[in-house]
């Protein structure tokens, strides 16, 4: 069973005195979607890099505490991360989208038929099978983001880490992505996603981690996003924020459906 556990983890980037992560403890199991929310710079991206074993191994810097991951290294059965800047994540070594998606699996040294199977499946899941013969350099931002996500999923990681995965996607693309995140969890993968798309989380996340200045201030169900403190910190769902701004009493509704229910029972 996949499991990632962070125990009292702190992390400092090279040549900095203030920790980007401070004493964070978190457990994520297979089948679970955990969302990281917080202001820009609160530590969500750093937490993902630590979870991916890229910080400090590749990034440098200093780590304290224990990071334990039950699984393999990178890729198959291991960890896969989708960075927030997909345009830096292209291999630059592929003529076609298909080859680009196959870049990771090929690096894992899989037999060719296994690569083909996983690449085709990932293309279908990201709804980009039609782009398979396109040259990656000609893609739009949203298309490229899908290609990179497909490239990570094709490596079949057990823990998938997403940093702002919907930033370049249109609303239909974002909906597809969130459905995909749920289906990854349903397959038993563990998913951690850092996102500012708070309104999507009630349907997507099992748990929400509120990060502030590198600390995990609160961990709980998505209902957190309707709490007064999170709304005040700019981390409430739009519905909760409107409710609060309208001066209506607590508890604030989390979603439109919750609001309708509350409204009827007044």
């Amino acid at each position: 069973m996949t499991r990632l556990s962070l125990e009292h983890v702190s992390f400092w980037y090279p040549a900095t005195d203030t920790p980007a992560l401070a004493d964070v403890s978190l457990e994520v199991a297979g089948g679970e979607v955990v969302a990281l929310v917080g202001a820009v710079g609160a530590g969500a991206s750093t937490l993902l890099l630590v979870a991916a074993d890229l910080a400090p191994r590749v990034v440098g810097g200093r780590l304290e505490g224990a990071v334990d991951f039950r699984g393999r290294g990178n890729g198959e059965g291991g960890r896969g991360i989708v960075l927030p800047t997909p345009w830096t994540q292209v291999s630059g070594m592929a003529f076609t989208v298909w080859d680009e998606v196959a870049f990771g699996p090929a690096n894992l040294g899989w037999p060719r038929e296994q690569i083909t199977r996983h690449v085709d499946r990932a293309l279908a899941r990201l709804d980009i099978a039609a782009l398979r013969a396109r040259e990656p350099a000609t893609l739009s931002g949203g298309e490229l983001q899908r290609v990179i996500i497909a490239g990570i999923l094709a490596m079949d990681p057990a823990l998938v880490l997403f940093d702002e995965p919907t930033a370049e996607l249109d609303p239909a693309g974002a909906r597809m992505l969130w459905r995909l995140v749920r289906s990854l969890a349903a397959e038993g993968k563990a998913v951690i996603v850092a996102t500012s798309d708070l309104d999507a989380l009630p349907d997507v996340a099992d748990r929400v981690v509120w990060l502030e200045q590198g600390r995990a201030k609160k961990i709980g169900p998505p209902a957190l996003l309707a709490e007064d403190a999170l709304c005040a910190a700019g981390l409430g769902t739009a519905v909760a924020v409107v409710w609060r701004a309208g001066g209506l009493p607590r508890p604030y509704p989390l979603t439109v459906d919750d609001a309708v229910r509350l409204w009827r029972h007044r």
């Binding site: 890099l49 991916a52 890229l54 590749v58 990034v59 290294g73 990178n74 890729g75 896969g80 991360i81 989708v82 960075l83 800047t85 345009w87 830096t88 994540q89 292209v90 291999s91 630059g92 070594m93 592929a94 003529f95 080859d99 196959a102 870049f103 990771g104 699996p105 090929a106 690096n107 894992l108 040294g109 899989w110 037999p111 060719r112 690569i115 040259e135 990656p136 350099a137 000609t138 893609l139 931002g141 490229l144 490239g151 990570i152 490596m155």
Partner: protein, 241 residues
């Protein structure tokens, strides 16, 4: 030509450079330069795909134009060498060295134009190289188009903020200066991001990559490569003897 095995293309370029220096000047280098020029002219379409998004494809039309572009790049790159040689040396040395240097430049420019880094990686992996090493090798080769795309983005951003890349010498020099430093700095910065990105795509030290579509290596091509090696050795022996 782009369909030749990457090793054949590498061997051709290397042999041209070697022969340019081995054969007696000026006719040896004139010969190699002529061969390099013909290769450049016939390099045809299929320039390396830009490794960066945002650019909109190469859109090169087949036929002569790409060949002429390659040739022009080689001439423009080699021109300053001639100037310096002319200042420093007499005419016969200038011609001898100039032809050799121009052969080198033309061969490399041609190689960059016809050898797709992705194909080189595939060929090297199929030949048993480690993925990381092959990637490093190919990345060096693809540095030119990558930097070109990046430079274009920076120039575009600067133009949209009022900097003119045209006009007289003054504005041009200013524009070049405004470009050079950010280009280098951003490229260096990107090295960090690339390291993260490649790790995340499974390119870790010691990775044994599966060749996806290794370029076919025909017997004839292998023979040509050995012939080129033999030719260079023969030239060396002849010149030493």
């Amino acid at each position: 030509m782009t369909r030749l095995h990457p090793f054949t293309l590498l061997a051709l370029a290397a042999a041209l450079v070697a022969l340019a220096w081995l054969l007696p000047a000026p006719w040896g280098a004139a010969g190699t330069l002529a061969v390099a020029a013909v290769l450049a002219l016939f390099s045809g379409a299929g320039l390396t795909p830009g490794a960066s998004p945002g650019s909109t494809g190469t859109g090169m039309s087949p036929g002569w134009r790409p060949g002429l572009v390659v040739l022009r790049t080689a001439v423009v790159t080699a021109a300053p060498f001639w100037l310096f040689l002319f200042i420093l040396h007499d005419v016969s040395t200038t011609v001898a060295l100039g032809l050799r240097i121009t052969t080198m430049v033309a061969s490399v420019v041609w190689l960059v134009a016809v050898l797709a880094p992705a194909r080189l990686v595939e060929a090297m992996v199929a030949a048993g190289w480690r993925a990381g090493t092959a990637y490093l090798f190919a990345a060096t080769l693809s540095a030119v188009p990558v930097l070109k795309a990046r430079a274009q983005r920076i120039v575009e951003a600067q133009r949209c903020r009022g900097l003119s890349p045209r006009g007289g010498l003054g504005p041009r020099v200013r524009a070049l200066r405004a470009l050079a430093l950010p280009l280098i700095l951003s490229a260096l910065h990107e090295v960090d991001e690339r390291a993260l990105a490649l790790e995340s795509r499974g390119l870790v030290p010691g990775a044994r990559r599966t060749p996806l579509a290794p370029p076919p290596d025909r017997g004839a091509e292998r023979a040509v490569r050995w012939a080129l090696v033999a030719l260079c050795v023969a030239a060396l022996v002849w010149r030493l003897a």
